[in-house]
Symmetry: C2
Subunit: 610 residues, 2 copies
């Protein structure tokens, strides 16, 4: 049942040899790794307006463009910086790897923790924003946001468990559909504006601009800028995923990165300019894109719905960036023994299944906890992103300085500029978003790092204990086989048959709690005991366990260096509920002996038919 | 930790030899088995009034006495009937045993199911009524009824897990305290009435008697009578518990039965007469006893609180009757293989621990589901009681007729009269209480019986499969020992050491998922392989499981009648959470091989230190 369902959802297993085949072309890679960066245009403008409008009212639109331009400048510098990382780390140069190599273990763990937080929030924020695009089109669904979000999340999780190549195929069309739709929206909108045909967006007319204006302080402008920096998220996705590209990997990845950022910048600027021209005011239950969409195409028509659908799809699929990267990062960290090794195993379909499942679970928790609301998730989002940006670029600077390759000064300057700027953004975000939720991340990242360290310490200790160094081989040991019995029947006879193959020293143990039953066992033993010695133990307290454990203890003390095997005849019932009808004594005995050295407890299964 | 807590709550284990010591004197037995019957006087009168007053208003008090007299007549006849059962079944003559011997398996299972339902409801109803006595005294606690009830339930469960003798000690004083208190209440009340000093109870003056009177139909009178029959509950308790008495068991039990019923009748009649004289009207938040208590002793004084406390104690302890009988019945039914055999085991303290725990759980569910409300539980209560009464007495009639001992005609007449009357009450209760909840029990009893039958069928099939009849002993078999390894380290070397004690045919299996690691294992094998053959299996799908299982399958097919032992080196971490850091492959392999014949899977524990 379980495996049929698994095959149906996940598909048949794939051979390891197909790992090479699963490489991505640039066009597909843009869809797989680029959605996050491109899709953030769907909410970056809005997030700036959300801060500005309550403060400055319609006058806010005047500040929108300058702030956006600063964000774009930042975006271009960080892209240039990451382009260098691609070439420097053709095997995948995520922040973790770059930090590990150049900054040492401590900073690399901070980078890993930040990235994992970042990926989890990418999933949650993107899905929440995708659902917001739907509920803008269908306001009646506003109350079902969380359910819709979880539905999309499940869809993504299953898609990714099926494996990376097929993911690319699923995400190819929607990405290009969104790009085309946005291009059309911007072009049509721009033509109308240039033609002087600028209808005021319906929401702008009806929006309730707060009476009490917050003065447009530096703090407000910084908060708006911090929000606008969501547009930078996703830049690093490609640098983590270089090995997934077709060869030449680094070159293809670099081209894809430039393509991706070009798309992102055009869309972000286009939406921003049009939002200003159409006097769009952010609204709780309708996104800025939806308002713009309605204004440009004159209400909810076919084009409107097509673009909303495209927005939803790209946003939900943007979450997929994280589904490619989180499990891959977790597998690298696990190989370095800072995460449980299960994250390093590829599943049946060549995907890192455990990472995908953990990511899905964490994102689901976030979506539920924050009610599927983009605005409430955004403050948590940025911090992890900018910590990893800063560390990664700082690492690149040190790498340049160490290696002193041709042109290292320019390279170091570009990365250094990027690092400085992202560090400044990091401080801005930490301060302006602290009370809105950023504090959670500030607490969380050190906690995660502590866990990394604890896990690593455990693995080191285990490795030391398992090391063969200094081990001297012993002679063949003696094995005393003890078979506790509760009567004489076929399961016991089978266990004795088995016991006799193991050792010449086999002892059956019966605990006397009822003289009549004991006599019966003794009588049957002559016929069925197979020459095995039967020892009968007294039990004043009716406990079967205590005398048995005591016997094992004494036997162990006699030959402390040799083995004892405790063989338990155990029923395997045909139906699970039949377990309730049999004593679970085997479990108790196993539990009691688990921590004893040189004692092995074995169940000899006896299969019941019904 | 767990065992320290257990010792503290339950006490040290008791030797089986002390089973004889744990016998009860008549005085103690009255407290242990009699509380149910005696305590029912605390609500029987009230339950009659609850039906009558809404129908007839204050005129209802006129019908209270005749109905009560009919109930008392019934009580006396059933007592006479059960007195005969005591003598006929000195080893404990519960309805189950009497039915089993005289009516056959089917009726005995109905009796067992009815009794188990009855005992569970005894616990719930008595505790709910006990808490009602408290909340009558402290009306502010009315809303915490469920919490209070669960507290008392936990107290009883722990007391009973400690063992029966100590239970007797705990329950001795409260029972006699209640009897004394009620005697005082009745005497003082009667003296006042005879002296013409009859204050109208406060509640009677303030009670709101419904405007719309239901006509006092036969149906209403029957419903009132049915409710009054709660006074009969608990009669059978002593007949189930005869072996717990000091010798001569039957005689002591019979004397205790007469004492118990005398107390019960006097109190029931006393309360009924006084309730009439004081014009007491039932009230949602105050019991009849509490009202009477206030009227007789002039408000809430020291005497009032003492009697309320006594009432609470006796009622809560009445639940204890069921705590003595349910586990004992379950153990008898389990010995007959109609219940899981775990119910037949006595615990450390000679009590049937599993029965006590199941009873506590069921009673807790009832208390929570019915909000700890006596009135809502009563309709469910009576049915089980009267089914078992009827079956038990019918069984006695057949026994008399079969054995034809001296005086059998009189004996059969007494039991027959009892059976007929209780059968009539059973019909009255079923009809008048059907829609108030009795239907639940009418559905439940057949369901329980079906489970008894299914359990019995399972045990019969198992016994047949385990039977030694026709078994031919085989020669010593071959044992192929397979040791799957994931590398070469101390845990593997230890497993090989162990494997070599088991068989000359040992094979280590390594699944090749990474050529580099495979080469390393091969190189190390020369030094550490201990002469064991190493087989390396290819795995195109990276699965470690599939090639391994296939290898085991092939090996098994070569010698299908011989044994295969799969030895798994398994880490035993020092802390539970370390389990998360290691692959749980052993579990998967065990699961996959669980249903294969002649294959034994053994974990060789390797103990990690930290």
């Amino acid at each position: 049942m379980y495996s049929v369902l698994k095959r149906l959802l996940i598909g048949s297993p794939l051979s390891s040899q197909r790992l090479g085949e699963q490489r991505l072309t640039k066009r597909v890679a843009l869809a797989v790794f680029g959605t996050d960066a491109i899709a953030s245009t769907a909410f970056a403008t809005q997030e700036i307006l959300v801060v500005l409008v309550p403060a400055a009212g319609m006058a806010a639109l005047d500040d929108l463009v300058p702030i956006s331009l600063v964000v774009i400048a930042l975006l271009v510098i960080v892209t240039a910086s990451y382009r260098q990382t691609l070439y420097a780390y053709p095997n995948g140069g995520g922040s973790y790897i770059v930090s590990r190599e150049n900054l040492g273990t401590g900073p690399s763990l901070v980078a890993a923790a930040s990235l994992m937080v970042d990926y989890t929030l990418t999933v949650s924020v993107s899905i929440a924003a995708g659902v917001a695009a739907i509920t803008s089109a269908f306001p009646a669904w506003h109350l079902s946001r969380v359910e819709l979000s979880l539905g999309f999340l499940a869809f993504l999780a299953i898609g990714n468990l099926r494996g990376i190549r097929e993911s690319g195929q699923i995400f190819f069309l929607p990405t290009y559909f969104f790009i085309a739709g946005m291009a059309l929206l911007i072009v049509v909108g721009a033509v109308k504006v240039l033609g002087g045909d600028v209808p005021v967006a319906q929401s702008a007319a009806s929006a309730i601009v707060p009476n009490e204006m917050v003065p447009l302080s530096i703090f407000v402008i910084l908060r708006a800028f911090a929000n606008g920096c969501t547009a930078l998220t996703g830049i690093e996705a490609i640098s983590n995923g270089v090995p997934a590209f077709k060869p030449p990997e680094a070159r293809n990845a670099a081209i894809t990165l430039i393509l991706m950022i070009t798309c992102a910048v055009i869309m972000f600027m286009g939406v921003t300019l049009l939002a200003g021209a159409y006097h769009i005011v952010p609204h709780n239950e309708e996104t800025v894109i939806s308002q713009l969409n309605r204004a440009v195409f004159g209400g909810r028509g076919a084009m409107y719905y097509a673009i909303q659908a495209g927005t939803t799809l790209i946003l939900v699929l943007a979450a997929n960036t994280a589904f490619s990267d989180f499990p891959r990062l977790a597998s690298i960290v696990a190989k370095d023994r800072f995460l449980p090794r299960q994250f390093a195993n590829r599943g049946d379909r060549l995907a890192f299944s455990n990472g995908i499942m953990v990511l899905s679970l964490l994102a689901a928790i976030l979506l539920i906890a924050f009610g599927g609301d983009t605005h409430r998730l955004i403050p948590l989002y940025m911090l992890g992103v900018f910590v990893s940006f800063t560390l990664s670029q700082l690492g690149m600077v040190l790498k340049w300085r160490r290696e002193k390759k041709w042109g290292w000064r320019v390279g170091a300057f570009v990365n250094g500029l990027g690092a400085t700027l992202t560090a400044i953004v990091l401080i801005v975000v930490s301060v302006t978003k602290f009370s809105e939720g950023a504090w959670i991340i500030i607490v969380l990242i050190p906690l995660i790092v502590m866990h990394f360290v604890a896990i690593n310490r455990h693995y080191s200790r285990v490795a030391k204990q398992l090391s063969l160094k200094g081990l001297t081989l012993s002679d063949t040991k003696h094995n005393t086989v003890i078979v506790p019995i509760g009567g004489v029947h076929r399961a016991v006879v089978q266990a004795l048959d088995y016991a006799r193959t193991l050792s010449a020293d086999v002892r059956a143990i019966y605990v006397d709690v009822d003289p009549v039953a004991t006599k019966e066992v003794n009588d049957l033993w002559a016929t069925w005991g197979r020459g095995v010695r039967l020892e009968i133990l007294a039990s004043p307290f009716r406990s079967v366990m205590a005398p048995l454990l005591e016997y094992i203890e004494i036997t162990n003390d006699e030959r402390p260096d040799d083995f004892i095997t405790v063989l338990l005849p155990e029923f395997v019932p045909a139906r699970w509920w039949h377990h309730l009808l049999h004593n679970q004594r085997a479990l108790l005995i196993k539990g009691a002996l688990l921590f004893r050295r040189n004692i092995v407890v074995t169940s000899v299964p006896y299969h019941l038919e019904s």
